[in-house]
Symmetry: C2
Subunit: 601 residues, 2 copies
């Protein structure tokens, strides 16, 4: 079987770099230990090898489709959904009290990463079900919880989030779906929702939609949006009856074609009954809980696809003989033997770039998951929550944007074969293209980062992050080989401060258009520095393992982490100054007056 | 009809920025004038509107396929091939003596750009036929020329170039196809060739393959490769008879699915007769003529796809209402009207980036084509030829790599719709992915640039280019608004010199591996500076037109050129210092010893 991810690297990141084991000393996670999670992750790898990876290509070739008001997905989903339920893959991170296993998100995200690297068309079904169940647990009435959540945690019923409408796109203030209060306290929901991932599929008994809509008479904008639980079939006297939730179509997509993306119409042929979740007009706040989880999950999916692409291109590079080493006069000697292309410097650049993006991203996902777990475990709650908030747009966007570049680079390693449908790189390129669009585009994530997260509590989150990074810089200085990179990282922290010092006055003067005009460039800068931080941590632990003669992994394994850190600092960290200069440049190009929009013709 | 390119911009680049009219004062092109070429290009636009653009989506959805030893292409090709023959689209640039119209390459490339922007699945058929015919005219015997060339120029017969073999890929020194000399002076050709663009299709009477093979007993490597003309059907006594050229398959591809890419087997079921073109063992040198033409054509195809994607995303951005302008406290007022997304700064960034890449590339193509034309016209022949040689890898690679980024950005403008098959952006994204692979990957082009072109004649070509750029800097200084950019461009010329001063000693010491290790980064740097030069020229002519009150185009048109130049210098030129620092960094990461290749696992 082809390799799609590295269990060794994942374990090294969890145990050595991020010391997940420390989490198990908290009360919440006291039932876990290193051995339990290693066994669990091995079982996930086994499941992925057997049930997920062998179907990735076929799910692309035989995509989900609409027929007679329902979506038909690949038949392997029957096995997958059943086994996922039995293994408790959806319910695992939930509280014991809610029927879960109280598994750390750090471990659960690692498990999902494995599954998504094996087959990125699958785990979204679980993730949305878990997210919807979590939302119900947080805000719904006890009756709703009891009715829906246990079946969802067992993956007997699926869940979705229904936000987007055709006329509004990402602008949620403009949604027009309506909710009319009924005498029994429930609502009749009416409206159209598009791009609904996991919106309809066989092999589950029901689909539970979490829907944003406006209660009649609600104020305009985001302050008038409420959240509802609207099942496809409503439980009535022990039965499930039609709730007029109609599947109007399936969007045919560039990638992730096995993962359905549906058009759903509520209340067209009769009332779709829904129940309010949380308070009226506060639906958006509730939904953000699920959106934040989905954003981390989306980034994780991006790094997983990039991981699979990396190993596919690596295998090719190791096995494909082509060309020769250059001689000392710059020519190639036809009598010398052909070499495998992994020997060529430019192919190594392409492999290093992929490895740096993939492993740096997994490391960040682990870091961010720990902030989440410590928040739940009530350890340094405010601090961990702020760090989680700050880094959520990064862990979503870095693997989306740079993962896209990684997969593109992987395809390039194969030359002409990369463009052929017989090789899987072209599929990964198509699959990963959605990651920078799902759950808020890169533009939106960047505005969230610069417009909300950097400024919240007067920059408190950024200050906490800077302290963390400074501490890691200090530790890394113990190794001479890491000192240069550690200093570079420190200088980059200063660079970010410098950029903000230049930008923030625009916000203070009320010129938010100008403040946020280069938010996407700032995201690129900030994300690169954050991943540079992760690589310094990784290299530090690798150096420590080498120094201690640790034999958990091979010497080459640890050396490879240090080499990749060196690559990242030589090739990627060199981009930051240019990005900073773009943002600090006073010339206004993007915020020219509106009447000149014809300038683009 | 949707817009896919701008005739106004093309004319402005040809006439104003690059003064193509000056070419008509040479003897070779004396029959041309501004009016003739405007009429010609309008007719090409008309042809493209009617016969090419309406079929672009369908050719993707119903791709070329193999059946019973032949390739079936979309039926519209029957009309297209016939009309192309009648319009003289293949023969136009050939000499009068050879049956052509002696059209400047500058004009012919502009025409092909229009056609490729309309439908990039089509013009490759013409381009390869022209390239093969040109190769025969340059090196074949009079008998071969008389037999094949006239039919090819009329597009009654097609042409191909057959280089790649499964075991050799881009490493042409390893090709193993054989040629056995026969008593009549012809050869029997045996071997397999893959990835043969335009390799087989209906609607032409014959296909003329230009094949690289080894004459029995030839030396190993590139010094033992010869070039042969091997027709699919050989002319015999007025008839065309089977020549045992078997079409073994069609490669199913990610994009350009209407353009066939075939697997061809020579001499398997009987002898495939071929005739030597040029001298024995000098085939590679001959083939390079065609490859250089094909490289320019490939880059042109990339910028054409990016142009079509740009206008598709621009139309969406102008028509799609979503979101609102930010208020002075950074919030959005739900009572204020929605705006079209073109009003958002980040969408403008995405549009500017595309426009800058597309128009900068077209300008470079025009510049390069003029070097070619002046070489043919015997004006400053050596100088123009050297500049052509130096810039060929750039005009191939910049639109390949940055064009890919442009199309990706265009898709992003559409958000979720960009990922849907109903919108064409996803097709352009797939189509353009081949451009950085065709005719030598970016890695190979970069080695050509740094390893051959920069060093040839002791750096003469680069010196000539620097003189040209300096002259344009000097002219641009006349306008105050351009002075900053002009100085930046000058500084970047210096930066390239600095990089080379640091790199060249590696080559002088015989360490070519090290010299070329970062060739791809150098390509990125050099390409960006070259396009920056083009933008300075464009902005200068736009400023001049504004100053003179020129009404050929609207004021907004000229202003848009200046704005896009400002965008390019603010956002793209800021990347060059970082790239230079990567190359000048002494740390060796890519050229680590070979035994550590397991480091990538």
């Amino acid at each position: 079987m082809a390799k799609y991810m590295s269990m060794e690297t994942l374990r090294f990141l969890l145990h050595d770099v991020h010391n997940v084991n420390q989490l198990f000393s908290t009360e919440r996670y006291a039932d876990y230990d290193k051995e339990t999670i290693d066994i669990f992750l091995d079982s996930i790898k086994d499941f992925s090898d057997k049930e997920l990876f062998p179907y990735i290509k076929e799910m692309d070739e035989k995509p989900a489709y609409w027929e007679d008001g329902k979506i038909i997905v690949h038949p392997q989903f029957e096995t997958i959904v059943k086994q996922a339920g039995e293994m408790g893959l959806v319910g695992a991170p939930f509280d014991y009290d809610d029927g879960g296993m109280q598994m750390p998100a750090t471990v659960h995200n690692a498990a999902n990463f494995i599954m998504e690297a094996a087959n990125n068309h699958v785990p979204g079904y679980f993730g949305l079900t878990a997210g919807a169940a979590h939302l119900l647990l947080s805000y719904a009435t006890d009756e709703i919880k009891a009715t829906y959540v246990p079946k969802m945690l067992d993956m007997k019923w699926g869940g979705t989030m229904c936000l987007t409408e055709p006329q509004a796109g990402s602008s949620l203030s403009d949604i027009t779906s309506t909710a009319a209060l009924q005498e029994d306290g429930s609502y009749h929901i009416k409206g159209q929702k598009i791009f609904i991932s996991s919106g309809d599929y066989e092999y589950v008994g029901n689909i539970v939609h979490l829907v944003l809509a406006r209660i009649e008479g609600a104020p305009a904008g985001t302050k008038g949006i409420s959240l509802f639980c609207v099942p496809k079939r409503k439980p009535e006297g022990g039965d499930l009856v039609n709730n007029n939730v109609y599947t109007a179509g399936e969007f045919e997509k560039l990638g992730q074609r096995g993962y359905c993306t549906t058009h759903i119409v509520f209340g067209e042929d009769g009332p779709s009954q829904g129940w309010l979740v949380g308070e009226p007009n506060k639906g958006l706040k509730c939904m953000f809980q699920m959106m934040n989880e989905a954003r981390i999950g989306t980034g994780r999916m991006g790094m997983a696809i990039a991981s699979a692409a990396y190993y596919a291109s690596l295998q090719y590079a190791k096995e494909r003989p082509q060309g020769r080493k250059l001689t000392s006069d710059g020519s190639k000697n036809a009598d010398s033997p052909q070499v495998n292309i992994i020997e060529h410097a430019d192919v190594r650049r392409m492999l290093f770039l992929q490895k740096a993006i993939v492993e740096g991203s997994i490391s960040l996902m682990t870091e961010v998951s720990l902030f989440y777990d410590y928040t739940l475990a009530d350890v340094d709650k405010e601090r961990n929550h702020l760090l989680l908030e700050l880094l959520t747009p990064i862990v979503k966007t870095y693997p989306a944007e740079k993962g896209k570049q990684a997969v593109d680079t992987g395809l390039q390693v194969l030359g002409g074969y990369g463009f052929c449908m017989d090789f899987i790189l072209q599929q990964y390129l198509r699959d990963i293209r959605i990651i920078s669009i799902y759950e808020g585009t890169t533009g939106i994530q960047s505005q969230d980062l610069l417009g909300r997260k950097i400024t919240m509590q007067n920059g408190k989150a950024l200050q906490l992050l800077a302290e963390l990074v400074q501490a890691d810089i200090k530790t890394a200085m113990a190794y001479e080989e890491l000192q240069g990179s550690a200093k570079t990282l420190g200088a980059n922290l200063g660079l970010i401060q410098e950029v903000l010092a230049k930008l923030l006055p625009h916000a203070m003067k009320g010129n938010y258009e100008r403040y946020l005009a280069d938010a996407t460039i700032f995201m690129d800068l900030f994300g690169t520095v954050v991943i540079g931080w992760q690589w310094l941590k990784i290299a530090h632990k690798a150096k420590a393992a080498l120094a201690a003669g640790d034999t958990t992994q091979t010497k080459e394994f640890y050396e490879s982490k240090v080499s990749t850190m060196r690559f990242f600092y030589k090739y990627e960290m060199k981009r930051t100054k240019g990005l900073a200069k773009i943002i600090m440049n006073d010339e206004e190009v993007l915020t020219i007056p509106t009447e000149t929009s014809m300038l683009f013709d």
